[in-house]
Every structure is written in structure tokens, then in C-alpha cells.
């Protein structure tokens, strides 16, 4: 077709619904409970904290799953769905009892599984590392104006004095006088947590997005293993004794 003959009006995206990602999402048990048609009323968007700050819309999430266009779905799985704060306001307000929150959660899990999440999650490397090695997800140190515009200017201003403030606030609580994590958890607690991740398969899943973190965690565990196994056996013995 020559350039002049092209229709200048965009073709309507027709409901396709045949795509791989679409089918994977629809298979998830949560979807049936989370999408009952959509009035396009915008109640979810009006209440959504993510929509207030980012180019994100729970209404769009619902509409997109109704239309089922594979390309749009893939694009969302790579980008927009990671803006949702999982606060569930959309679900408790939607007049059709839809839940963009649950749709997003299902899409996130599938995105991780299907290797679509790496780029979107790259910015969370530090958080993931902190959770996996210290048992905290955020630390005062991580507050930077670019990363958290939604926390507001006051928090950013305060963050320059965070160590002084913490020392003042938490006098007598040694675990709290840190800024590289929220508080210092005991080694034993961290080890136990890491073991749970390992045995439940969660660590493996993390590895699909952050492969190097798996090595870090395993090294961390190896360093502590002997000491911790002794402690575990001590605890087991104590438990046995208390049963008698």
C-alpha cells in the first residue's frame, strides 16, 4: 500500500486473547475473583496512591485484561505494574468488586517466572540485598530524593540528620543506632530466615531476577553455618528436654 492510501486513523485494538502471557494470567486462580467487567468509572484511579505519583492506572490494568492484547500486556509486565503499592484500595472501592491489586500480583509473579521483570526490578537490588542479608527491607541510608518522591520534602530534609536523630531517639537500644539498616537483627535470626528462603524455594525465585544475590546469601550462610548449627542443636536439645 502506498503512503497516501494509508488510513490515518489508528486501527482499533481488537480483543485477541490468544497470547501466551494473557493465557498464563487468566489461568491464575485470583483472576476470576478480580475481574467482573469494568464500568470505566475511575473510582480505583481516584483512590490509587500509585496513580497519584506515576504513569499508572488500575483502571487501565482491568481494561487491558478485558481487551487481552498481548503486546500491551507484555509491556505492562515489564513496566507499569511495578508501580502498584499493593494497598488494595482499588479492591475495596470498586463498584464491580474488581481487584487490580490481585491482577497486578498475579502478573508480577508471572513476569518474574517468565523473565520479564529484570529491568523493572533492577532498582530494587539494594532492597533485595538488604532483606536477604540483614532481614530489613529499607534502611535510613537508602533515602535519596530521587528514589522516593512520594515520601515528601520533609523526610528528605530530615534524612541529613538521621544518625544524630537515631542516637537521640533510641538511647539505650543498641540495635537501633544504625543507619545502614532499620535495626540490627541477631545473626541467628537472619540465618533462620535465610534457611526458610532456601528450603521454601523463595531464594531460587529471587535468583531468576537477581542471580548474584543467591551467591551472596549462600556465602553469607556458609560463613555462619558451623556456629549456627551448634546453636540450632542446642535449641533442639532444650526443646526435647522441655517435653519430658
Amino acid at each position: 500500500m502506498s503512503e497516501e492510501n494509508k488510513n490515518p486513523v489508528t486501527e482499533k485494538i481488537e480483543s485477541a486473547k490468544g497470547g501466551h502471557f494473557y493465557k498464563e494470567i487468566m489461568k491464575d486462580f485470583r483472576i476470576k475473583e478480580s475481574l467482573h467487567g469494568c464500568l470505566n468509572c475511575g473510582t480505583c484511579v481516584a483512590n490509587c496512591p500509585a496513580a497519584a505519583f506515576y504513569d499508572y492506572s488500575p483502571r487501565e490494568v482491568c481494561q487491558m485484561m478485558i481487551e487481552g492484547d498481548e503486546e500491551t500486556i507484555e509491556e505492562y509486565m515489564k513496566g507499569k505494574i511495578w508501580n502498584c503499592a499493593q494497598c488494595y484500595s482499588c479492591k475495596y472501592r470498586c463498584p464491580k468488586e474488581n481487584s487490580a491489586a490481585d491482577i497486578v500480583m498475579a502478573m508480577r509473579e508471572i513476569a518474574v517466572r517468565e523473565g520479564l521483570a529484570e529491568e523493572a526490578l533492577a532498582g530494587y537490588t539494594r532492597i533485595a540485598k538488604l532483606v536477604l542479608t540483614r532481614g530489613n527491607q529499607l534502611a535510613p541510608d537508602m533515602l535519596s530524593p530521587d528514589a522516593f518522591p512520594d515520601w515528601g520534602p520533609r523526610m528528605i530534609e530530615l534524612s541529613s540528620k538521621k544518625m544524630e536523630m537515631r542516637e537521640e531517639l533510641f538511647k539505650g537500644f543498641p540495635g537501633m543506632n544504625v543507619v545502614d539498616r532499620a535495626w540490627a537483627a541477631e545473626d541467628y535470626t537472619i540465618f533462620e530466615m535465610q534457611k526458610i528462603w532456601e528450603e521454601s524455594g523463595a531464594l531460587e525465585k529471587v535468583g531468576t531476577v537477581f542471580p548474584f544475590l543467591v551467591d551472596i546469601v549462600q556465602d553469607d550462610m556458609d560463613d555462619k553455618r558451623d556456629e549456627m548449627e551448634v546453636k540450632i542443636n542446642e535449641k533442639k536439645a532444650k526443646l526435647e528436654a522441655s517435653k519430658k
Binding site: 475511575g42 481516584a46 490509587c48 472501592r93
Partner: protein, 349 residues
């Protein structure tokens, strides 16, 4: 000649009673309040959509037709406590403060109507918490010169005339969260009418309507909607009112402007909730006393919506008007006449 029992003295019951009396039947009309006219009278509806005719012009003649007809016996402040028997030989116990009487009837018409949806349960709208969030029924009372504010729109908090007014559509309707997925069928035209009345009285005010669809299917409704936009510059924003809070001592609403794809916040002086219709306690009570079927929302269920819309699930008991579901006045009058015809034909056999 048999006597017909009509339960409910709103516009439907009044019309049914006077039509039956005209045909020569004796009618006993039982009304639980001490006035006739139903919700129109209770909330002092002032002007009716779409013609902005005075409500009194429509309702007063219907009331007079009943009061002046010697074939109709009216019991106000009364209720039907028990019914026994089968068509066409019913016995009903009518109770009021003066006592109790038992009468025989050939047929029963239920015209117990609706109640305005109580928006207190939609906590996010702040009704009951913020004084200046009011219902459309309360605005009807205010706009009536015979009402509590002598026809002035006033903010309950300080008695001032609001300058910026927002109207929320579909409150308690089209909403699975409150168990009412149905459309109230009148909210759109009533809000448009109220917006025009407000602009007419206070040309400097700004009126915003937050809606999902403007359902203007009635006679002259779409034209009224056009007039609201063109002549009165009422602003219709496509997005459902989502939340009301206080910001700097002023009401602040949130919604999405869905056409523009953006969440907005809007500070206004007063918010009117277009509260929909719910099956009233009176309808539920009547259904229990008579043992007739209700639908999922408490409204009365016709034997067959298409073929026998005015027959209940029980022979000899007939239903009409807004106790069957949301309905406007024009259609209630049609229903009142239709049920009268149906009763007459059933009593002939």
C-alpha cells in the same frame, strides 16, 4: 360489589385507588404515615423533571381524586397486621392507634414504594460526618419554598449559600459493594434538574456533576441534559465521585477524569449525593405479611415481568410502582392505572 384493599398511599396507590373507585369498586386505602403522597410529600419535592413543573400540580389532583371519592375509605397512620384467606375472599386486619378492625376484600394491591438509599454506609463519602455532604432528597426539601430553608440552598454547617457545588451520581446504585448493582433510573435526570434549579436561583454558582453515564432515556430528559450544558453551563465530568475529605476546612473530593485519564482533587462548598432507591422497610413488611416473593434486592417480584407485570407470586394479590424496583412518577401513574385494570378484570371472573 367486592372491596379492594390498596396498601400504600403514594402516587401509585392513589392512582390505583381512584381508578378502581371510578370503575365502581369500593376501595380501602391503608397508609402508614399521617399524610398521602409518599416520598413526593415526605421530601417536599418541589419541581419535577423534565418540565420543571411544580410537584403539587401533579400530586395534588391525584390526592384530591382519592379524598373526594366516597367509594374510597382512607386509613392514615395505619398498617395491615395480618391477612388470611385466598382470592377472591381475603380477610385483613387493619391496625392503628384507635384500634383494630377486620375487613373482607376481593383483591389486594401492594403499592408500598421505595426508600432513598441511606448513604451512611458509603463511609468514603462522609455523609453524616461532614455536614455539607447532603442527599438529593434533602436538596429537594431545601429548594421548596415551603421547606425548612424557605426555598434557599444553604450549607447545613453555617447557613451560607454554597458557591461551588458538586453532585455525585449513582450513590448506592450500580455498586456491588453495597449489594445494589441495579441502576436507580432517576438519579441522572433528578441531578440535572437540581443543577438547573440551583443555577437558575444562583447564577453565580458553579455546579459540577460527576457521572459514569448520563442515563437520559425518559421523555424530554435528553433535551434537559442538553439545556443544562448549553444554557446553564453545568459541568459534567465523566468520573465517579470516589472520596470526600476535608482540606483546609473545605470539602475536597477525589475522582478520575476518565476522559483525560487523570486523577483529580476538587475543593467545593457542598456535595450532593444522588442517592438511589432501595426497597423500603414498608415493602419488606408487606411482603412478609402477604407471603409474596421479593427479588434479591428486596423489591417485589412480578409473576412474570413481561406477561404479568402487575401480578405478585400469589393469585389475587397485585403489585405496582416503585416497590417493584426503581421507577419515576410518570411510570408510577401508568402502573397505578394498569394495576387497577388488572384487578377489575380479575374480579369479573
Amino acid at each position: 360489589m367486592k372491596t379492594v384493599l390498596v396498601i400504600g398511599g403514594g402516587v401509585t396507590g392513589l392512582k390505583a385507588s381512584s381508578e378502581l373507585a371510578e370503575m365502581g369498586y369500593n376501595v380501602t386505602l391503608v397508609e402508614k404515615e399521617d399524610y398521602l403522597g409518599g416520598q413526593v410529600a415526605k421530601h417536599k419535592y418541589y419541581k419535577l423533571a423534565p418540565d420543571l413543573r411544580l410537584a403539587g400540580e401533579v400530586i395534588d389532583p391525584v390526592i384530591k381524586a382519592v379524598e373526594n371519592n366516597s367509594n374510597i375509605k382512607v386509613y392514615k397512620h395505619s398498617h395491615v397486621a395480618a391477612v388470611s384467606g385466598n382470592a377472591p375472599e381475603f380477610k385483613a386486619k387493619i391496625k392503628n392507634s384507635k384500634g383494630e378492625s377486620e375487613e373482607n376484600f376481593g383483591a389486594i394491591v401492594v403499592a408500598t414504594g421505595f426508600e432513598h438509599f441511606d448513604p451512611t454506609v458509603k463511609q468514603e463519602y462522609g455523609y453524616g460526618r461532614f455536614k455539607d455532604v447532603v442527599t438529593n432528597a434533602e436538596v429537594e426539601e431545601m429548594l421548596n419554598p415551603g421547606g425548612p430553608t424557605n426555598g434557599e440552598l444553604k450549607r447545613p454547617s453555617d447557613g451560607e449559600t454554597p458557591k461551588k457545588i458538586a453532585i455525585f451520581q449513582c450513590v448506592g446504585s450500580r455498586d456491588r459493594q453495597v449489594g445494589n448493582p441495579y441502576c436507580c433510573r432517576v438519579g441522572c435526570v433528578v441531578s440535572t434538574k437540581q443543577a438547573i434549579e440551583i443555577k437558575e436561583k444562583y447564577p453565580d454558582s458553579e455546579v459540577y456533576v460527576y457521572y459514569m453515564d448520563m442515563r437520559m432515556f425518559g421523555r424530554g430528559w435528553e433535551e434537559l441534559y442538553g439545556k443544562a450544558m448549553e444554557e446553564y453551563e453545568i459541568i459534567f465530568t465523566r468520573g465517579r465521585g470516589a472520596e470526600v475529605t476535608l482540606k483546609n476546612q473545605q470539602l475536597s473530593l477525589r475522582a478520575e477524569e476518565t476522559i483525560m485519564d487523570r486523577p483529580i482533587q476538587h475543593s467545593v462548598d457542598m456535595i450532593i449525593l444522588a442517592a438511589g432507591m432501595a426497597a423500603g422497610e414498608g415493602t419488606i413488611e408487606a411482603a412478609n405479611v402477604l407471603g409474596i416473593k421479593q427479588n434479591d434486592y428486596g423489591f417485589l417480584e412480578p409473576k412474570d415481568d413481561f406477561v404479568s407485570p402487575n401480578e405478585s407470586s400469589k393469585p389475587g394479590i397485585f403489585i405496582a410502582g416503585a416497590d417493584k424496583g426503581p421507577m419515576d412518577i410518570e411510570n408510577c401513574i401508568v402502573e397505578g392505572a394498569a394495576v387497577a385494570a388488572k384487578v377489575a378484570s380479575s374480579l369479573k371472573n
